[in-house]
């Protein structure tokens, strides 16, 4: 493996943002294929995900790795956009209506971006109609919905119902997450997947694509 690539992996795992961005720029100048760098990022996030699952890593490491991978992607994106190869998936992401919590969603955005997805972040307190409009316009592969509250988790179902009404449900994978959400709730509201954490979420999306 290219020494810089393995260094980059280490930087992402350790959350060393500045060094990771510097290394990425260096590699691009040297002519390293940008998608090769993306693959390395994804590998790094998988390592972090495994460590998180086993309890060796905590939210700190997960967030810092996500933020680092996202910054690297921000360097890569203009270069990737000039090439022919498409992003792994286009994801529309938001926290649902009535809920302005953005911490979980921000971590998901960072990790998904770092994992090589093209993420459209609609923000927080997003009405179902806005998600449907965005799906119509942007034609994404995935809709990812966050909710922290028991009073707003029902709005994830509302989005799914509105997608159905608009005839768009079958065109997208719907993944849901957030503190009160679990597999049973996801199944009941007709979501395709649920994830405990964003790295698991990225893995599930890849399996469903």
């Amino acid at each position: 493996m290219n020494a810089n690539l393995s260094d980059l992996e280490k930087c992402v795992v350790e959350g060393d943002l500045e060094k990771a961005v510097g290394l990425t720029k260096e590699m691009l100048e040297k002519g390293v294929e940008p998608w090769e760098i993306v693959a390395q990022l994804r590998h790094a996030l998988q390592i972090v995900g495994k460590q998180y699952e086993t309890g060796a890593f905590f939210l700190t490491e997960l967030v810092l790795a996500g933020m680092t991978a996202k910054e690297v992607m921000n360097v890569l994106k203009p270069v990737l956009a000039r090439g022919k190869k498409k992003f792994l998936a286009k994801v529309v992401l938001c926290t649902v209506e009535g809920d302005i919590h953005d911490i979980g969603k921000t971590i998901v955005e960072a990790v998904f971006t770092g994992a090589g997805f093209d993420v459209i972040d609609l923000g927080v307190d997003v009405p179902a109609a806005k998600v449907v409009d965005t799906v119509r316009k942007e034609n994404p592969d995935v809709v990812a919905l966050s909710a922290l509250l028991t009073s707003t988790m029902v709005n994830q179902e509302k989005v799914i119902n509105e997608l159905k009404k608009a005839g768009l449900r079958d065109r997208v994978i719907v993944i849901v997450g957030g503190a009160p959400i679990d597999q049973e709730f996801a199944r009941r509201i007709g979501a395709d997947a649920y994830a405990d954490d964003p790295i698991e979420g990225a893995r599930k999306i890849e399996r469903l694509l």
Binding site: G55, L59, T60, G98, I100, I103, D125, T150, S151
Partner: protein, 420 residues
């Protein structure tokens, strides 16, 4: 039959009282009932009650004496302003607040303005520094049931070095009590102590760990933790300094009358695990929190409660070593928080104030029968040997049907007895 106060004290001393003590909205942290759920509950009983809010961020209602008696509650907060209370109208005044079509009452001093976007903005009305009182510290979007501070107010989110932190910014959860406010609190504490047999609870101040995150924001907190610890240390130092002063004033005012003192919200975990490595917490935060516990233990005979949400099992032994007597809210719905394991591992040395019902998955959504089965099972797990005060894993959420709240307390009353 024991008095409520005796019952609570016995439970904390790990002795079996006559029945498991119950807390319904008496512990003013996160074990209360949302105003909208309370309004529906009162209507369910045919009562036209004024809904008084004691916590404007979480929008929590003060239960009336009717419900304290109805549900067999044993605890009241020293903040209490509806009967039984030692406060008169002159001590605490309320004003109307419109919450999603309902009219509730909030303390008159709270400054909330309606923005052009239809959201409500809460200002730093509590600050001793008048120039800071216009600062927006929390926001309620038009369709939201709560005020939120995390997404809108992170006063130290951009600090990069210690010299950027000049002073502790105002924050809703960091008390800045006035002398007259403390005198009023003392009057209430004394009255409740002398005229009721409830156990009296008081929340003394802000948490150290949780507040560090609230001030820096998660992003800056995690970055600083890894690469710039001095920033974290400085925030902890400022919080400890402020908390120590406030805690001593608070205990001087009410310490003689309280049975339980809370040392603030110290949420250490998310739904799935600890926010940070427990080793880091032990190094950076535990010594500061221990100082606060030691102050309470040296100045009063009160028991000490820590509130810490989330999946936090690795920290509970530390709490015990720090001489913390009570842990709330015991979020059994989080990962690695099996109630049987918690009781087995920590039940001899830690009192569980909470863990009695899952408010994330069961209380708002299940049938009354399922609520009852769930509550009975948890009460049976936690009650042996004392060390358990019944309370939810968090606030009763706004959409909770009254029938489920009734079912919850019916099950508690059926299962709470120690001797048949």
């Amino acid at each position: 039959m024991l008095t409520s106060r005796e019952r609570v004290m016995m439970a904390i001393q790990h002795k079996e009282p006559d029945v498991v003590p119950v807390d319904f909205g008496g512990m003013d942290c996160s074990g209360g009932i949302h105003a909208l759920a309370y309004e529906k509950l009162a209507k369910h009983f045919g009562l036209d009650e004024e809904v008084r809010i004691y916590d404007p961020i979480q929008v929590l209602a003060e239960p009336s004496e009717f419900f304290l008696r109805k549900f067999g509650a044993d605890v009241v907060s020293v903040l209490r302003s509806t009967p039984p209370t030692g406060l008169t109208e002159g001590d605490k005044q309320f004003k109307d607040y419109s919450l999603l079509g309902s009219n509730v009452k909030i303390p008159r001093e709270i400054d909330i303005t309606r923005g052009d976007d239809g959201s409500d903005y809460m200002h730093a009305w509590f600050s001793r520094d008048a120039s800071k009182r216009s600062t927006v510290v929390a926001k309620r979007n038009p369709s939201a049931c709560y005020f939120d501070h995390l997404p809108v107010y992170l006063p130290l989110k951009d600090v990069k070095k210690v010299s950027d932190i000049k002073e502790l910014p105002p924050h809703h959860w960091i008390p800045e009590r006035s002398d007259s406010g403390l005198r009023t609190l003392r009057k209430n504490a004394k009255w409740l102590h002398e005229n009721t047999d409830y156990a009296i609870f008081g929340m003394s101040g802000a948490g150290i760990f949780e507040m560090t995150i609230y001030l820096l924001g998660f992003g800056n907190f995690f970055r600083s933790l890894k690469t710039n610890r001095k920033v974290v240390e400085r925030v902890v130092e400022l919080l400890l300094e402020h908390n120590k002063t406030e805690l001593k004033r608070y205990l001087d005012a009410v310490g003689d009358y309280l049975q339980v003192v809370g040392i603030g919200g110290e949420d250490l975990g998310s739904q799935v695990g600890p926010f940070i490595n427990p080793m880091d917490w032990r190094e950076l935060f535990e010594p500061a929190i221990k100082e606060l516990v030691d102050i309470i233990k040296s100045k009063t005979n009160c028991y000490v409660m820590i509130h810490s949400c989330g999946s936090i099992k690795p920290f509970v032994s530390d709490f015990i070593e720090m001489r913390i007597d009570i842990w709330n809210p015991v979020q059994i719905s989080a990962k690695n928080m099996d109630p049987r394991e918690l009781k087995k591992e920590f039940g001899d040395n830690m009192t569980f104030w909470g863990g009695g019902i899952d408010t994330q998955h069961v209380l708002p959504f299940a049938s009354p029968q399922k609520v009852k089965d769930h509550v009975r099972e948890l009460v049976e797990i936690f009650k042996p040997g004392g060390g358990f005060i019944f309370n939810q894993i968090h606030n009763v959420q706004p959409e909770t049907p009254p029938e489920n709240i009734v079912a919850m307390f019916e099950a508690v009353n059926e299962a709470r007895g120690y001797r048949s």
